[in-house]
Each structure stands twice: as structure tokens, then as C-alpha cells.
Symmetry: C2
Subunit: 266 residues, 2 copies
């Protein structure tokens, strides 16, 4: 009983003729293994060899192996990673995908891929802000801005968007109430500060084009968010050097959250 | 009584026919104001408008205004910044210049300048490590590796070079004694952790192509280093965003120092 995910905000989407992820009713997320390049095998080997402490393991989706299932594009059986469906516990999830790092490529990539990524990093907020919002959605109000709009936001635009993500009043042009800021971003901040401490010392992995995914239920008292890292198709060995690209972008994103939370404490 | 600095390890050097910095006998450093582009005025306005707390101000050289003095290249009177000569208190200084950041350019630079910087960032350790060693010198042993050699070092090469910088035994192929590691890098680390705390919150300046300069006297009991930021010709406004490029590189450099200090504590 595989179906197209209802709340996917970033990445390739399954459509007629397009290969994309699928979900089942038991909370599993089936991600197609790309077989046209190394990306699929990179992500598979990342999950199969991931060796971190239990506290850090919580930042990653659960992994249940691989399976050959009918592809979303109707092309027949195709190998998929079986992952935890992070939005499945939520009735009406609010979801945000934030791609971390001012640079989404690394030195070992092909010149063609580097040029493509560099162009996008410069056209979006990645270069100036150290991250870009790849997707966002509020299942209650059906608010789901286009990816192009999101990725190119200025610092002011990102701040407004983040405030809207944690507001209950979603009329386009009004002030944000930020009703959920303390509960949601307070908790996200705690998790990200923990993640930052790990990135300050870990030299095993460099995460290019990887995202922080935030999911929460926009309902008072139930809004504790989940914070996970997703997308490991471009993880490379750190070889004794910290991931300064991810760390810098993460610190920048943390600073945006702090800016929203700080006025609440006055 | 202006003369060519004896211990300059990076930047344009004054030579016959070349414009470079000069020093006097009173501890002042005269840096030519570039008049062929915006760099000189950028650095001048940085020093004249710098508004930070006294604790952070200590990371920057003292600034004494400008003066028109005879240029080092013999072309006659030329405007210079008058700065603190950071090595003047030292009899036989050991000096290291570390250019921080994986990227030495910003989005407002010309395409030509961006291409030039990007090429160099990729050819040197800037891209993989988040910093490159621009120059190093030990005035006792006259050890002064070439800049090209330094800038292209691998992670292992940088670690070895840093160990050599704090060793008293400087024979090229022997083990490093790291006799000065605890005294010098212990103190550098303290200062850089303080600097990092500032970079985690300051959104006023983005420092491209800026260096951390470390100077100390290789003599037991007198080896307390000075740690300063230098070169502000490419500082741009932060506009509410932290300098994630500098911060990431700084964290990477800090991690290299920690790796050298940690075994000493066992």
C-alpha cells in the first residue's frame, strides 16, 4: 500500500513519470536509490556504516534496510532505502526543510556539478546566509510557498518566514503572532545547539547538501518539534577536518532562531 | 627612519620597485593605502569606524591615523595607514599568519576577482580546511617555508607545521618536541575561543581574506603569544547575518590546535 507522501516539502517529488519517494501506512518512507550516479550508494553506505553515540543517532532518521518495490514513476520494481517517515506521527504537520551550508558541493565533485551547484548557491540565500529554506508548509492553513521564492529570500525575508512558521495567524500581510515560537523554536534551538557541539568536534563526515528538517503539530501543548538531519547523498569523509561549511551555516541558522526568541524574553 | 619590516610573513612585501609596508623605531607599522581600488579605503574606514567592546578591540592592532610618507618603492610620498607594529616588542619573534575562511571573496566582488580568489581557494587548503597558512617564520632558526608550500598543505601537513611552530628542535626531519605547545597554543586557544564567541553573535562585519596573526618569543617563560586579526581590505557589512565563513574556518583552526594540545593532557 505505497502512496505518494502528503507532506513532502523538498527533494524530488513522485509524479506521473517521475521517480520520487513513497510512504506506507506503518510509518516508513521509501526513498528511491538513484542508480544513474553515486548518490544512491553514498546515502545507502552512510546509513549502513553510521557510527555515532545514541544521543547523536537521534538526529538521524531510523533506517530499516532496502527493498525493491514498484517505483512511483510506473517503471516497475526499483530499489529503495527504507527510512523512518518523520511526518507520520502528525495529523496536520507543519514542516520546514533547511539546507545547511553556504556551499553544496565539494572538491571531489565534477566540474559540471560544481558549476551547477555554485550557480544555485549564489542565486539563493546559501552564499549570503549559509543556508537556504528548501521548503515549508503549514498543513492547517495550506500555506506552502514556492521553493524558488523560499530559496532566494533575503535575511529579512527569512526572518519573516520563520516567524510565520511559528504563528497561528496566517493571513499573508498581517503581523505574525509568533504564538508557537517559544515552544517550537525554543526546543529546536536546544537540539541545534547540541548538534553544533557535535559539529565542533566531529571530523568523520562532511555533509554537503544536507538539510535540517523540523516538524511539529500546530496545536497548543502538542507543539514539541522533531529535529532531524535528512539527505546524505553528498556526504564525504571528513579526514580529520571538521565540517566548517555545515557548522558555519548551522551557526547562522541558530542565530536567526535566537533573534526571534530573544524579544520574547523581555 | 622608516625601514622594511624584518619579520613580515604575508602580504605584499616592500622591495625595490614594489610598494609594501614600512616600520619605524617607535613600534609603528606603515601600510600603504592602495589607491588603485577600494581596498585601501575599505581598510581605512574599517579602522576609523570600528565600534566594539574593549575586550574585542584587543583583537585588532592599534590604529594611529594616516600619514603621507615616502613609499617603499621609491615613487615618492604616498598615503599610509599607521598601525601598531605587532612584532616590535619581540627580539626574535616566531610569527604565523593564518588566513581564515574557506572563501576569500564575497558576492559583491567583481566576477574577475571572484574567479581569481576561487581558483586560489581551491588550490590551497582554504577550501578543504577552512583556512590557509599564509606565512610562518622562526627568527631563531631562520626557518621560513615558502608561501606556496604553506598554503597548499594537507590536513596532516598543517598539523605537522603547527607542531613545528611550537617546537624548540627544528631539524627538518625529526620528531617535534612541542616544547612550547602548552604555553603558546594553550594561550592562543583561549584567545580564539573568546573570538569565536564574538563571531557567533556579531552580525556587523564579514571578514573576507582576513588573518589571525600569532607572534611569540621562543624562550621559556616568555612565550605568551599575541593573537591579533589583521588585514581588513575586504571587510563588508554583515547586514544582520553572522560571518559563517570566518566562523567555520576559525572553528576548524581551533580544532587543529586542540588536537595538538589534547595529547599533552594525558
Amino acid at each position: 500500500m505505497l502512496k505518494v507522501p502528503e507532506h513532502q516539502v523538498a527533494g524530488h517529488k513522485a509524479k506521473k513519470g517521475l521517480l520520487g519517494p513513497l510512504v506506507d501506512d506503518s510509518g516508513k518512507f521509501y526513498k528511491p536509490l538513484q542508480n544513474n550516479d553515486a548518490r544512491g550508494s553514498t546515502e545507502l553506505s552512510f546509513y549502513t556504516t553510521l557510527a555515532v553515540t545514541p544521543a547523536i543517532r537521534r538526529f538521524f532518521p531510523d533506517f530499516y534496510g532496502t527493498a525493491v518495490v514498484p517505483a512511483s514513476d510506473g517503471s516497475g520494481p526499483h530499489p529503495h532505502l527504507i527510512l523512518e517517515d518523520l511526518v507520520s506521527p502528525y495529523a496536520k504537520p507543519s514542516v520546514m526543510d533547511v539546507k545547511i551550508g553556504s556551499r553544496t558541493w565539494n572538491a571531489d565533485d565534477s566540474e559540471e556539478y560544481i558549476a551547477k551547484c555554485m550557480k544555485k548557491d549564489r542565486e539563493t540565500s546559501s552564499l549570503p546566509l549559509g543556508f537556504r529554506i528548501s521548503g515549508v508548509k503549514d498543513s492547517i492553513s495550506s500555506w506552502e510557498p514556492s521553493r524558488t521564492f523560499l530559496q532566494k529570500l533575503s535575511a529579512e525575508g527569512v526572518a519573516l518566514l520563520l516567524r510565520k512558521f511559528v504563528s497561528s495567524f496566517n493571513a499573508e500581510d498581517s503581523d505574525r503572532d509568533c504564538d508557537f515560537a517559544a515552544e517550537v523554536f525554543g526546543s529546536v534551538l536546544e537540539r541545534l545547539v547540541e548538534l553544533k557541539a557535535w559539529f565542533e568536534v566531529q571530523t568523520v563526515y562532511h555533509f554537503y547538501s544536507c538539510s535540517v528538517l523540523v516538524v511539529y503539530e500546530k496545536e497548543k501543548g502538542k507543539a514539541k518539534p522533531v529535529v532531524k538531519l535528512v539527505d546524505f547523498a553528498h556526504v564525504v569523509p571528513g579526514n580529520g577536518v571538521i565540517d566548517h561549511n555545515f557548522l558555519g551555516g548551522l551557526c547562522s541558522f541558530i542565530n536567526f532562531l535566537k533573534d526571534i526568541l530573544q524579544p520574547l524574553h523581555h
